[in-house]
Symmetry: C2
Subunit: 329 residues, 2 copies
Amino acid sequence: MKVGILGATGAVGREMIRILEERDFPISELRPLASARSAGKTLAFHGDQVTVREATDDAFSGLDLVLGAAENEIAKRFKDSIVRSGAVFVDNSSAFRMDPDVPLVVPEINPGDAKLHHGVISNPNCSTIITAVGVNALNSLSPITEMIVSTYQASSGAGQGGPVELLEETKAYFSGETVTPKVFRYPLAFNLIPEIGSQSTDDYTTEEMKLQNEGRKIMHLPEMNVTCTCVRVPVIRSHSISATVRTKDPVSPEEAREVIAKAPGVTLVDDLPNHRYPMPLDTSDQDLVFVGRIRKDLTSDRGLSMFIAGDQLRKGAATNAVQIAELLL
Amino acid sequence: MKVGILGATGAVGREMIRILEERDFPISELRPLASARSAGKTLAFHGDQVTVREATDDAFSGLDLVLGAAENEIAKRFKDSIVRSGAVFVDNSSAFRMDPDVPLVVPEINPGDAKLHHGVISNPNCSTIITAVGVNALNSLSPITEMIVSTYQASSGAGQGGPVELLEETKAYFSGETVTPKVFRYPLAFNLIPEIGSQSTDDYTTEEMKLQNEGRKIMHLPEMNVTCTCVRVPVIRSHSISATVRTKDPVSPEEAREVIAKAPGVTLVDDLPNHRYPMPLDTSDQDLVFVGRIRKDLTSDRGLSMFIAGDQLRKGAATNAVQIAELLL
């Protein structure tokens, strides 16, 4: 396959190239595309140096697949050119996720939806992928009706500059220097920022509403309601999620553990007496979503609480997109 | 008043001395007490150096008040000697909090309970104080029936060694050295640890159950149910809480903001369009609990979600204890 990467020089684009390589995706040509500013740079792929080209309307010709790792505006700008060129566009931006003509796919959950595409398939939001992979097995016992979720989101979710700024600020703390935040609105070192995304309805942020809106579409649960609080934490690259999940009928922690342990893409790490539970340092730089701390919700007999962690750049973005591409092979 | 501090050399004990000074608590004698190991050290108080004495059964004679900043075992060991000496014991340990003969007091919420003491008054758990101060005003509109809470707890909650270990680990990250965690079970730098306290019932931790059990007693809500997930985060000294709060009858975000803004001990910091919300760096080293991100709970018409932050060492421990002592003056 001839594969283009739109936004190849960003954090997610680079991770996509690494994961295509790692998973030995069958590629006859890799075409990294980015802004004029990045054109001419080279990126390593299977031992070769591949030159980045400028993304233009003509840059997609001959490609079979384009993985999108660019912002919404760039994705919108080039969508028609990509589809016209005959390539399938697997896009990580949020531009088309809620479009009824565009499948929104987590391969472990709704692989069949990928086949219904008309040229574009969207990759979901990172926290949504990690949460959905973690909880989806419960639907096999009884459908999820509500979730109350608080996130602990890593700096990597803000792109390449996120971890750089966090580490610079942290270093500056020790030297007594001051770093003016640019990527984040406030200092993130030894702090928390309870605002991710822009403002949506009812004083929620766009990031907070994605878990409900995208979660409904991925899990085919159009009536699921989700209350979500998204918080940026001084962690480098794994997102964690504290979720209270209610199902139509009660599910016991034992039943939940049994189906979650068998769910694709998940590792059950749930042994409080032996101090085993998901932690971001353990889930970084690998593809599995860790689920643990499963226990009864003390406020509802239809509820369970749990703690979930997964690598934001890999399963939360690049790996999921490459897995979607694998469904198309 | 003649005031003893039991556990005077720990993080909370030192903070208590600072706060007694700051609030100009009327003291004719300050008697810092600690283990034999710390006896002979000196602590600054109103410009003088006061010598730490060993805590023994006879060490409390003549005192009017003892502020307890020691562990459960030490609090239990000396309780009877303190009461026998005629002093009132305002204790920060969890040893007596659920004892029906011991008032558990947050002065902004249940000051009247302090008067019912028989020699011992307990200071609540730090996350519980901060959460209760933040949400209590809702009870004036309709009683709280349930809370679903995820905490973001600072390293200071583990005592003086907590921030030291976090900072050492963080420094070591940059120098490439490895620090073996001693205070925390796992590295906390750039990580999260979803276990605080020891194991309680139903796979909850003791720390997680405190919010329900102590919250019921403080707010006089014996039937309130709380599902809590406690997570240690790489923050130095303020705890934050993401809370979804359900009341008997629906309360609107506007009504909630109005009563919370007027509540004692609280600052409403709730303006998402202007990016104002509670953050641990802003709440550290002061006494007010910040509440913001107030919005509808999308999973219940009786619910509200909000984000709360407060200094763990001050309002979460030392300040609250000194405020209890002020009720006794």
